[in-house]
Amino acid sequence: MCRIGAIKSKKYLHPSIALKLMRSQQKGHDNSGFAFVMQDLGGIFAAHKDLPLLSMSATVEGTRRAEDILHNLGFTRVLQWSPEINNQKGLKIEPMPNYIFETFQYPKSHKYATKEEKEELLIDTALLLRKELEKDNAGFIFSFWPDTLTLKEIGSPKDIGTYFGLWEENEDLCAKVITAQCRQNTNYDIVRYAAHPFFLEGYTILANGENTFFEKNRDYQQSLYKGYIGFESDSQCFLYTLHYVNKILKWPIQYYKHTITPLPFEEIESRPDRDVLLRIKASLSHLEINGPNTILGVLPDGKMLCVCDSKKLRPVVIGQDEDTVIMTSEVTGINDIMPNRDISKDIYPNEKETIIVTNDLTVERWQQ
């Protein structure tokens, strides 16, 4: 089982905390990779929170091609940052030649564009970049979105940390929201796109467990929105459903749980909102999940989310202190980072709960 972790803090944190969070949970690793998404960035990216940040890894040719595409579209580079590579011998990692983290100014044509128009431009650009880089395996684009930095690599999480110098705290690279996983969520090929967390237009998801309704989910999602592509991992479906329910349908976030794990009929029947719940169950039956899954997520407004499958088959626990809330698979990770917290405040979500961590770190528990 993949161990997953999501951290939200009032303070800027360095991604080393994610490595430490996952360290004691490493029995779930298979050295297939490490990936994290940082949102609400501090450090050198703090000055450009409104501008799109490109996270990609590519060959030299891929880098040039991507930059040409962005240039032709009218994007202009504002900031570029590269991790300092620490290529010791014997590290288990399959690195790409270039790791690119660049902030761009929107094209002039979008100077007065609405938020929606800008978002449309970003998703179209990201899809175009992905398509162009995929042709000859020239690179991988992980996110192209404001205030979001993503890194995914194949290899041992510990060694990937060493390779990118992530064990050393560094004020340049920090964020208030960090999500991480130390394993690729796939039972099939090891590919970078199959690594959690998955990101789409401000929504981040990481999950474990087999999505037994993968085929149903995928078949339905493919025609719902242009951004629902890839499907290298069956867990991408969790992201797309979250995006669909919350962003496209504009339903409140608690309806995510009603969509993926609808209540049993006998419970719905006795509820005042039965009509709505039955309609959701019918109309979105192809987005239901029916396997063992814990899902952690981050929403565009910075809130953090946790839901489990309806049989609560996978573990998850939430620990907190004044400054930070951590959601992760096993309590050991939290014990390492927050040994002195009040453990009676730990939350073990049940099969019907949606846990939301608001921006002031209030932990809300909604029963489905």
Binding site: E210, Y220, S223, S283, S285, N290
Partner: protein, 542 residues
């Protein structure tokens, strides 16, 4: 003794020959008494006694059982004689030299009619070539069929895509802001679709009782379709009508009484099924032979005793658009747009086009698409239709599902598949496989008869439903035959079979790790047949 000409019908022409052992016979007469087809009778046979050659030959008369040889009275192989024989002295055996169908046509100048099912099984069953091969073991815990909770329910009625649901966000709570197409959650197996007239009143009532029992006592929301012969007014006006799907076919039989009863109904029916075609005889209308048009059938249907032929098509429908408008709109309107209205067609090369058209219907009033495959049963049909027309259910169901997937509209018009399910013994397996291939549910009629006592099979045993002489009291209106059927036993057996099927469905859902129906989960299926794999887009294995 009469002379015999070669053109005369002979025992050797018949499909079944009576094998009779006079040394075991005690001449109790039960075999002939029990034969509803009048296919055997006691006769006195003259026998020559063994002679020593010195005396003139002597003769003796002995009583034996002989088979009748005529187009009207001949053995259908039902086997009632061997059931009643205390000594196993008599049985019907299949005649490998059967030339009956040739003789019949040559003698009568008329097409041959049969009941039951096609007896020309050249295709083999695709469903039997499919196995459930994706078993949850490590990554996704499988479930315990006996003890975990499963939800075997499927939507019936038009389902709108989520973006078309009229939801309003009131303080974070979604609310419905207008009436949506009716939608019911029902058990994924619909029973019945056999008309009053085609089957006896006891069998029809047994199904209705079993349906009500499964709902009220067992909490299993099974629905029953009335078939095209109307519905008793007493049921229509009872609370149990909520479990009944009213059928309208091209003959429109029984609808006068339904309309008359509407003001007095206490519940809405479960749905309306517009029957366009049926799998056993696609392109042909219903057929009820005069022998079964009993007085009460005449009353409910509003017709005299005569062979009742429903036209092959609904006369008022000359295009798909008209169908949608006239039938669907009217049926929806009749129950104030609160009752799902679905359509049943025979599987055909053209089914996908029909389905696509319905999916695109802008009024969203088509609440289900029932596809009936060629192995389906029938009360009566021309043998030519039964054996030589039709389309197997499996690929057609799959085609329709994938056509919906192609448009991103899977599930919007629920698909129900039927026709010969359970033929090789496991109805649950057939149902499960079709569900994985995209069916929301399945329907069955013939199997219910077999549960209740039908002894017919796919290789020519009995299949005489058209004669009205059903030895099991199922497809007959004759009092002494109908009363062979114990309504309580028949209903109990149907209930038991459903409970067994329910458990067996769970025994298949558990291993694939699903507690809700795996509709469209074709990744759970495998086949060792490459052609089946390609055609259905499932995994080929060897």
């Amino acid at each position: 003794m009469a002379t015999i000409s070669i053109n005369q019908l002979h025992m050797d022409d018949l499909p079944w020959i009576i094998e009779y052992d006079e040394t075991k016979c005690i001449q109790c007469g039960k075999c002939s008494a029990s034969c509803s087809f009048n296919a055997i009778k006691p006769v006195v046979e003259k026998r020559r006694k063994p002679s020593n050659g010195l005396q003139k030959p002597a003769f003796e008369n002995i009583l034996v059982i002989k088979q009748n040889v005529s187009f009207e009275n001949h053995c259908r192989g039902c086997g009632m004689c061997s059931r009643v024989c205390p000594n196993g002295a008599i049985k019907a055996i299949r005649n490998p030299n059967d030339r009956y169908s040739v003789r019949y046509r040559a003698a009568k100048g008329d097409s041959l009619k049969k009941g039951g099912r096609s007896n020309l099984n050249t295709e083999g069953r695709t469903l039997d070539k499919i196995k459930i091969g994706r078993i949850s073991q490590m990554t996704d815990p499988s479930l315990d069929a006996a003890r975990h909770k499963f939800e075997l329910r499927t939507p019936f009625g038009r389902i709108l895509s989520a973006d078309k649901l009229s939801f309003e966000n009131k303080d974070g709570k979604m609310q419905l802001s207008s009436q949506l197409p009716p939608n019911r959650w029902i058990y994924p197996i619909i029973m019945g679709d056999m008309s009053i007239g085609a089957i006896s009143w006891r069998m029809w009532e047994a199904m209705a009782v079993a349906t009500a029992y499964l709902n009220e006592v067992m909490g299993i929301p099974v629905r029953m379709c009335t078939g095209e012969g109307g519905i008793p007014v007493r049921l229509l006006k009872s609370k149990y009508v909520k479990y009944m799907i009213l059928q309208i076919a091209s003959g429109h039989f029984g609808w006068n009484r339904i309309i008359q009863a509407m003001p007095d109904m206490v519940e809405d029916p479960a749905g309306i099924l517009i029957k366009i075609g049926q799998g056993a005889k696609p392109g042909d209308g219903g057929l009820l032979m005069a022998s079964k048009v009993a007085k009460y059938v005449q009353e409910i249907r509003g017709v005299p005793r005569a062979d009742l032929l429903s036209p092959p098509t609904h006369q008022g429908l000359y295009s798909i658009e008209e169908s949608v408008q006239k039938m669907f709109l009217s049926m929806n309107a009749a129950f104030n747009f609160k009752v799902p209205v679905a359509i049943k067609v025979a599987a055909s090369v053209t089914s996908v086009s029909v389905y696509n058209n319905l999916l695109r219907d802008p009024y969203n009033i088509v609440g289900g698409f029932f596809i009936d495959g060629l192995a389906a049963g029938t009360g009566a049909a021309h043998e030519i239709s039964l054996n030589h027309t039709g389309h197997p259910i499996t690929s057609k169901l799959r085609d329709c599902y994938l056509a919906a997937v192609h448009q991103g509209r899977q599930g919007e018009i629920p698909l129900f598949a039927g026709g010969g399910l359970g033929q090789t013994g496991s109805f649950a397996a057939d149902a499960f496989k079709l569900i994985c291939l995209g069916a929301n549910g399945v329907f069955t009629g013939r199997l219910l008869l077999e549960i209740a006592g039908c002894i017919g099979n796919d290789t020519g045993k009995c299949n005489a439903c058209n004669t009205g002489l059903c030895p099991a009291g199922l497809a007959t209106q004759d009092v002494c035959l109908t009363k062979r059927l114990d309504i309580d036993v028949a209903a109990q057996n149907i209930v038991n079979y459903f409970l067994a099927t329910d458990m067996e469905l769970k025994k298949l859902m558990g291993p694939v790790g699903n507690s809700t129906l795996p509709i469209g989960r074709s990744d759970a299926l495998i086949t060792v047949d490459k052609h089946v794999a390609n055609r259905l887009d499932i995994q080929y294995v060897c």
